[in-house]
Symmetry: C2
Subunit: 477 residues, 2 copies
C-alpha cells in the first residue's frame, strides 16, 4: 500500500515540535524516542507499519486542543488513535505525523438512568462502558468483536457495529452527542442528551468520519435496559445458498432477532478445531439469537424455526441452558483467533443487500478459486455485513499483494450488487482507492469539500479514506 512521502521540512523541525508539545503536556505524555514510538507504528492491520514522528497522550479536552493548535501552526499531520484496533489501517501513522492517543481520557463523566445515557471520555473501552452501568441493569449496545480493547473514540470514528447491531443499530444509532476538537483547536459540541437538534446534523457527520474532521474527546451514549433473557439457536445447512436463502426469509418475515451470524465450511472447521463448540459437520451454519422474556423468546423462535425447517436444515439446535448458549457463541466469537492459528488472514468488511447473499457467496467462491486463495466467510448476515477472511501465507513472496487484489475484487462485487465498501471497519488506508468505485466524482468532491471546512490544510489522519492522489492534490492546494 503506497503512502505519501514524509515531509522533510517537518522531520528537520522535530526537536522544536517536540519541545512545543512538552510545553503544553506533562513530561510523560510526549513520546519521541525511536524505541518508544514504535509502539504506535501500526494498528490491527499489521501488514503496514511506520513509526510516527512522536506520540502524545493528552489527559483533557484542553490538552487535546493545545496539541492540535501547535500541530496546526507547525503544519504537522496528526493521526488520532483510540486503542489501535482498526482492521483497515485507520490509525496508521506517517513518518512526519504526531500520533494523538486518547487512552488517558477514560473517565465516566455522568450517568443518568432516568434519561438513559452515559457521558464518557472517549479513550474508555467499549466493554467498560457497559461495565459502568451493568450493576444497574443497563448496557451499551454496539459490541464489536474487539470490545474488550477498542475505545469509544475509535467506535465513533468507524461507526462500529457488532453481532447485535441487527436489532440495536450501529454506533450512530446509539450516539447522542460529542465534544469535537477541530484541527485549529476550536472545541465544538455536537448533539446532546436529547432527541434531534436544530440546524445541520454535524453529529451524524462526525460519526464515521475516521478522524478526518477532528478529535472526539467526550461522548454521550444511549444506554439500554438489559433484556430479561436471550437464547441462540444453531442451524446447519447443506449449502451456503440455502443458508443465505433462510436469512433472507427470516428478514422478509419481519421477525427481528438480535443477531444472525453466518459461518461457512472453512470457518466452521477452524472454529470447531479451536473451540470444540460441537458444531455439526455441514456446509453453512447460522446462529440466530432472540431476546426478551421466556414467552417472547418462545414465540419468536417458534416462527424462526418454522422458516428454517422449510430449508431442510441438517441440524436445528436450540440452546437449552446458559451453558449450551455459551458454547454455541464460543465457536463464533473465537473465529478470528481460530483462523489466525492456522493461517495469516486479511479480514474484509463489506455490506450487501441481504437478498444478494447466495449470489455473492457463489461469486466469492469463484474469485477465490481464480486467485488460488482460500476464503472463509463469517459475518453478520442479518444486515448484510460480510467479513470474508482471505487466507494467505505472509512469508511467501507476492501472497499479500495477491490477497489484496482478491480483497479489492470482493469489495467491488459488494458495490456492484448495490452494497458498499464497509459496514463497520471504515475505509482507512485499506479501501481508500476503492472509494472511486463506490462514489461518482461529484459525490466524492462533496465529501472532500466538507473535509476542507474542518481541516483546510488536510492535516488530520493523512492518507486515509480518500484516494491518495485526491488527498495529495488537496494538501498541495
Amino acid at each position: 500500500m503506497q503512502m505519501p512521502e514524509p515531509n522533510a521540512a517537518i522531520l528537520s523541525r522535530k526537536a522544536r515540535i517536540v519541545e512545543r508539545l512538552r510545553g503544553v503536556l506533562s513530561a510523560d505524555a510526549v513520546i519521541d524516542e525511536a524505541h518508544e514510538v514504535r509502539a504506535y507504528e501500526c494498528d490491527a492491520l499489521t501488514a503496514y507499519k511506520c513509526p510516527p514522528l512522536a506520540a502524545v497522550l493528552p489527559s483533557s479536552t484542553e490538552e487535546v486542543a493545545a496539541v492540535l493548535r501547535i500541530c496546526h501552526d507547525e503544519g504537522v499531520p496528526v493521526v488520532p488513535r483510540g486503542s489501535g484496533t482498526s482492521l483497515a489501517g485507520g490509525a496508521l501513522p506517517t513518518a512526519d505525523s504526531v500520533i494523538l492517543g486518547v487512552a488517558r481520557l477514560n473517565e465516566v463523566l455522568e450517568t443518568d438512568y432516568d434519561n438513559r445515557f452515559i457521558r464518557v471520555q472517549t479513550g474508555r473501552t467499549n466493554l467498560s462502558v457497559t461495565g459502568a452501568v451493568e450493576e444497574n441493569g443497563f448496557f451499551y449496545a454496539p459490541d464489536p468483536s474487539s470490545q474488550l480493547a477498542c475505545a469509544i473514540a475509535g467506535n465513533i470514528a468507524m461507526n462500529s457495529g457488532g453481532a447485535h447491531c441487527l436489532k440495536y443499530g450501529v454506533t450512530t444509532n446509539n450516539l447522542l452527542g460529542v465534544t469535537l476538537v477541530q484541527m485549529d483547536g476550536t472545541v465544538v459540541e455536537l448533539g446532546g442528551a436529547h432527541l434531534d437538534a436544530g440546524g445541520l446534523d454535524l453529529l451524524g457527520l462526525a460519526c464515521g468520519s475516521e478522524g478526518q474532521l477532528g478529535v472526539v474527546t467526550e461522548a454521550t451514549l444511549r444506554i439500554l435496559r438489559k433484556p430479561e433473557g436471550a437464547r441462540p439457536v444453531l442451524m446447519g445447512f447443506s449449502s451456503n445458498e440455502v443458508a443465505g436463502a433462510c436469512v433472507s426469509d427470516i428478514i422478509k418475515a419481519g421477525v427481528l432477532p438480535v443477531a444472525i451470524e453466518f459461518m461457512d465450511r472453512p470457518c466452521i472447521v477452524a472454529c470447531e478445531a479451536f473451540a470444540h463448540a460441537g458444531y455439526p459437520d455441514c456446509e453453512a451454519l447460522l446462529i440466530v439469537e432472540v431476546e426478551g422474556s421466556d414467552a417472547e423468546i418462545d414465540e419468536q423462535l417458534g416462527l424462526i424455526l418454522q422458516i428454517a425447517r422449510r430449508h431442510d436444515p441438517v441440524e436445528l439446535r436450540e440452546a437449552k441452558d446458559a451453558d449450551e448458549a455459551g458454547r454455541i457463541w464460543l465457536g463464533r466469537k473465537s473465529a478470528f483467533g481460530a483462523m489466525g492459528q492456522i493461517n495469516d488472514y486479511m479480514c474484509l468488511d463489506g455490506t450487501i443487500p441481504v437478498s444478494e447473499l447466495p449470489h455473492v457467496l457463489r461469486r466469492i467462491r469463484e474469485l477465490s478459486e481464480g486467485y488460488g486463495l482460500e476464503v472463509a466467510n463469517v459475518f453478520h448476515a442479518g444486515d448484510g455485513n460480510m467479513h470474508p477472511l482471505i487466507l494467505f501465507n505472509a512469508n511467501e513472496e507476492g501472497q499479500l499483494e495477491k490477497a489484496e487484489a482478491l480483497g479489492a475484487d470482493i469489495l467491488r462485487l459488494c458495490v456492484e450488487v448495490g452494497g458498499c465498501l464497509t459496514g463497520e471497519h471504515g475505509v482507512g488506508i485499506e479501501k481508500r482507492d476503492l472509494m472511486a468505485d463506490q462514489y461518482a466524482p461529484a459525490d466524492l468532491e462533496a465529501q472532500m469539500r466538507v473535509k476542507d471546512v474542518f481541516d483546510p490544510k488536510w492535516l488530520l489522519n493523512p492518507a486515509k479514506v480518500f484516494p491518495l492522489d485526491a488527498s495529495a492534490q488537496r494538501r498541495a492546494a
Copy 2:
C-alpha cells in the same frame, strides 16, 4: 417576524428569469401571475405570508437541476417546498425567491420486499408511501400528524417523526439514501439501499437540513413488516407531575411501547368536546400503545399497567377491541383540529430529557400565567418531544407578539434543562433567532461553514435556520 429586504435588482429582472425558467420546463410548470403565486405565499405557519417572485413545478431530477442552475446563475434565492405543511415557516417565500415545488415528483421508482426498501420521488406524500406497500404487509414508520398531506421531501428536510417514533425512530433512522441536487445543479447520490457507507456521512447531514444544502428529489426508505396487532391503554392521572413521573418510570423500566402520548386538562377538555372519545375528567391523560402478537402485547401491557398503578391512576382503560382502540386514538389525533375550533394557537416543538417532564410542565404553567395566555400540552412524551399549544386571539392587537414571546421562553426553557429547540418541526423562520441560545458561536459557525460548501452564495431557503443577522452577513460576503 422580520424578513430580509427583497433584492430590487432581482425583482427588476423578473421577466428574464421567468423566460429562462420557461426555457427548461413545460409551460404549465412555471407560475408567475400574481393571483397564482399567492397559493405559495405561506405554509402551515399562516401568521406569515409573502408571495414569491415565481413558482416552478419540475417533473424530474434533470428539471430540478436545470432550474437550480438558472437561479444560481441569476443569483435568485430558491425556496424548496414539499406540501407546504411546515409549522415552523420552513417553506415561507421571500419576495425575490423562486418556490421550487416537488409535488409533480410523486412516483414510486422501485419496491424491494426482500431487502425491505422502497425508492420514491420525494413529492410523494408520507401516507401514500405506506399505501404503496401495505397490500404486501409492509409500512413506512415515520407518521407525522400531517401524514395525509405532507411530502417525503419535507419529512427529510425536517427529520420528521410522529406518534410512533418512540419505537421506530424519526426520518433519519428510516432513510437509506437520497438523490440531492446542489444549488449549482450538481446531482449527488448520498447513501443507498445498504447499511452504512464509506467516507463522510453526507446522508445524515442532508437529513434535517431544511433545504439549506440542496433539493432532495429521490429517496430510498426503509419499510417494515406490519406488526400482528397493537393495543392502546388510556391512563388518567390527578396531575401533570404524576403523569410525567409515570412516563419516566415506564422508560426507565426499559419497556418500549410504540407510543406514549400525553395530554393535559385544557387539551383533554377540548378534544372531548370535539371528538367525544369518552376521556375521563382528570388533569392528565396518557395513551400508551404496545404492539406485537397477543401474547407479547399482554406481557408488555402487564408490566406497564403495574407501573401505572403505582401512580394512583384516576382511570386505566385497556382497549378491548379495535373500536375502542380507534376511539382512544380519535381524541388525540383530533387535538390540533379541536383546539383550532375554539382558539387561534401556536404549536411549539421542543425536546427535553424525559425525567424533566414534571419540572418543565410546572414551569410552563407559571410562564403561561405570567403572560396571561393559556397553554395546552399534547405531545410525544416517551421521547420527550413536547408540542405545547399557545392559545391566543389573532384579531386582538399584540396577542401574536405576546404568544411568540411566550413561545420563545418555553423553548429557552427546553434548552436550559438539557433539551433542544426542535424535535421534528425544524427551526424554519420560527426559531432561527433562538439558535444562539442553543449553540455557542463556534458550534453555529461550524454549521454555517458546511452550508457555505453546498451553497456558497446562500441562495437556498433564505432567512431560515440560522439567525437572520448571521445569514445576512454570509450572503453579503
